[in-house]
């Protein structure tokens, strides 16, 4: 009984601070769809605890400092898993996602092993398939660090007459693979994958978040780009 309750309630070790928030990774996705290619960029913001685990992985010589060479090797080792962690389909048909540029890590000026946020940027692309047309549905599968609590958000931009809308723009994930669009129950326990510096893609069983986007008709004369637009009256 107690064990079951413990599982249900996440009863475990002492939790302090905003444990889940410190543990989470923010996944900020952006897709840009054009006539020839679909570019997918993911910025992963690792909060304190999540960052600490990754920084420890980077620090190969365990001297507490992260050199650019250590950062490079970390990314090199991670690259295949990162590639596998993302997927893209158009109207249910998987398209080949290819690395557009090498992943980058921004330690935000804190180049030591401490629980301080850092950002990992991934850039991928796929050739726009011929069956992608108005009304098509794009699905982005994000299985990166799926065992870690996450706040997912995605933005989209179209060019060449393509206009995209996101159906589920912001989603919480609890890191257990079971998630609801609203009201996800999140345990405050630090997931093992974080504490042990788990890999980015622990496998399909850990689940992943899927974003669905739709190519909608573009309104005539509308402005979509953000920028200074003086003159609008309330």
């Amino acid at each position: 009984m107690a064990g079951l309750v413990g599982l249900l309630t996440g009863a475990g070790g002492k939790a302090s601070g905003h444990e889940v928030l410190a543990t989470q990774i923010q996944h900020l996705g952006r897709i840009e769809a054009g006539a020839t290619h679909l570019d997918l960029t993911f910025e992963l913001v690792f909060h304190e605890t999540a960052s600490f685990a990754e920084r420890r992985r980077m620090d190969r010589d365990r001297n507490g400092r992260i050199t650019s060479e250590e950062g490079r090797r970390y990314l090199e080792e991670l690259a295949p898993e990162l590639e596998r962690g993302l997927g893209l389909s158009v109207d249910g048909r998987e398209v080949d996602l290819v690395t557009l540029h090498e992943p980058q890590v921004d330690l935000r000026g804190v180049e030591v092993v401490v629980p301080s946020p850092h950002v990992l940027t991934l850039r991928m692309f796929a050739r726009t398939p011929p069956h992608f047309r108005e009304g098509s549905r794009l699905q982005i599968r994000d299985g990166l660090w799926a065992a870690v609590p996450a706040l997912h958000a995605v933005e989209c931009r179209g060019s060449d007459g393509i206009r995209l809308e996101v159906e589920n723009r912001v989603t919480w994930a609890d890191g257990t693979g079971s998630r609801r669009r609203d009201g996800v129950r999140v345990s405050a326990e630090v997931p093992a994958a974080v504490g042990q510096g788990g890999g980015p893609n622990p496998g399909p069983s850990a689940g992943g978040t899927v974003f669905t986007l739709r190519w909608v008709p573009a309104p005539v004369g509308s402005r979509r780009e953000l920028g200074p637009a003086p003159g609008l009256q309330p």
Binding site: T9, V45, H47, S68, L75, A153, D182, V186, V216, S222
Partner: protein, 732 residues
Amino acid sequence: MNSHATLLGGLVAALVLVDFQARAAAVPGAAEFASELLLKHGVLVGPSRRPQLDEINRRIREAERALRGLAAGPEREGLEARREGAVTELATLAESLPGVLRSRLEGSPPRLVPSLPDRLDLGADEGGLLIRLDAGPGEGRFVIQDLDQARPEHSGTIRIDAAAGGVTWALIGLHHLPVGPTTFPVEIWVGGERWVRTGLTVVAPALGELQVDLRDGDSGKATPTMVRITALATGRDRKPANVVDFGGQFDGNGSPLAQRRVNLPGRLGGLWWCVAGSFRMALPPGEYEVAARRGVEHIPVFETITVRSGALTSVACRPRRWVDMRRKGWFSGDDHVHGRILSDDDAQRLLAWVRAEDIHLANVVKMGDIYRTWFEQRGWGPKYRVAYEDYVLSPGQECPRTHDQLGHTLSMNTRGLIRDVDQYFLYDRVADEVHRQGGLFGYAHVNSDLFFVHRDMTLNVPRDKVDFGEVLQFNRLGTEVWYEFLNTGFRLTAAAGSDVPWGGSVGEVRMYAYLGAKRFSADAWFEAVRRGRTLVTSGPMLEFRIDDFLPGDEIQVKDREQSLRVRARAWGHAGRSLLRQLAVVRHGEVLREAQPAGSGSEASELSLDFEVPAGDGAWLAARAEAVDGTMAHTTPIYVVRPPLRFWKHDEAPALLDRRLRSLAEIEELVASARVRAESGAPDADQAWRQLARQGGPLLEQVAQVRRLYEELRETAEREAAMRTATAGAGTR
């Protein structure tokens, strides 16, 4: 010499070399070289060649990807030919770039002919050198090296591992160069042997100056502003002068940096600095984007400027309002701001931030859990409020907070820290004391039901101990738990908070309280929240009335056929929050909605004006969604036809079942804690020890509230007879 510049994009490959004609190995060197040129050395490539280089990069990478694991055969040969074709194009494009340093490896011992120039003007404090080394017939290579003068592990030697034959293309990134000449040793290595050692002096130009005038675009008054300066050639962020460094006030929590990553879409998101006011600073020459932003009511400013050596460039950044909610009687607030305030300096830094983000009332909360507290405050109550004009920091608390048990609470406008570890799980005691002190009590993270907050809500919302719930955070509007309680007939006011330093910036999501014609004061703002006169937003603005009633009001009707006039208006900024939808929801379901004309259209304003019969009572609210994903929601207006509750009667049994399940969860928690305590095993976890101790009174509350829910079940049955079918009570 040409001007060069590079992007400093986090950690970069310090040294990469690959033989681009090696068949067995992949050719990442060529692709990495192309990426490096595209991402960090756009100035070398120029805008006209960029699309070509982009396409070459894609083709190389596609071929590489397809070649993985592919057995020898015609398909492989075809792919290799495509890859080599793209690599050849890359070399051809590199040949066409201006500013290439060309040399040959000749003689024995080898030497560079011609030698590298003695002195090279870089044109900025960072940039790229593109060196072409010809070693005669052979296969050639692409080489990348980054030298960052700000990183101690970089030796400062330009090392090129060249091919013994063919052309080696070396792209050397130089970063953080001091003004004036910097001399680098240059070593050419071939096959593990150093063939050539020479030197190269790179000159970074004299700095220019940038003056940024930061003012409120409407009043012309100087004001703190959120600022970002980006070198356009490289994308590198330059820290402005006059930055307000409040990072030390976060006790090392969250993102403890003064540079804030804002949870907003598009260009409004990303990294921003809070700058106290106008500033002047030296910068290397080049083109920059200076961006200035002040919360959702202002139009952000994005100015492109050019800084020249020895010259002053001035730019005025004066974000103007696209809407002035104050004039409509609505004043902004953030219910969830963490930051230590131990001194006037601490207070002034946070005050600068809330002024920059145009947040009139910041609930600055000391945070605690059963173990300790964070974000120390000097004191509580009006005496410890800090104000500048209509901007106020008001101390509050986020405590009690239990993470695995009952959730996090927020209190506003309290007179002292209320925290008793021996009664920590009895949140009602805190709520009562907060109310006794004249404050407001509510829950954090309701939008995501973090930390099982639904459990304590189940205990205390029905006992009228709760004023508000945080339904918008991290640009995520979460209504599921909120709607559950509203649909059970409990009032709960909408609140929003950034939760910095875990959130991005103060006011990235915000709540507005309606003061009407009253002059703004913290007390008036709190009173408006107490009355439920709020809306929450991360972008669009909303107005909502039923007859002359406002959010938080109750309309009592005698006749179910009584007609109510419902008016809602949402509007957004044309460059930012164009609207996708405005909806009036009744019991959480869309009663009426407005969308821009035509599928996929967008509007800067949407409105609804219709009449609806009062029916048997309900809660109604307005919500809006913008194209950029920002959202807004009002607190409901409650329509009550006595003696009926305003609840979603047809779902009452299911809603009550859900609440009873939450009570059962609390009972299980207590049972679990007691099993631990009785086991006699040493348990260092104070939370569970205390829960076992406090289980008695907590379970008494559970029993009391269970009776209340059971009574509501009876009420639902009684009401069934009083209500007539509501199917025909739709809009008209």
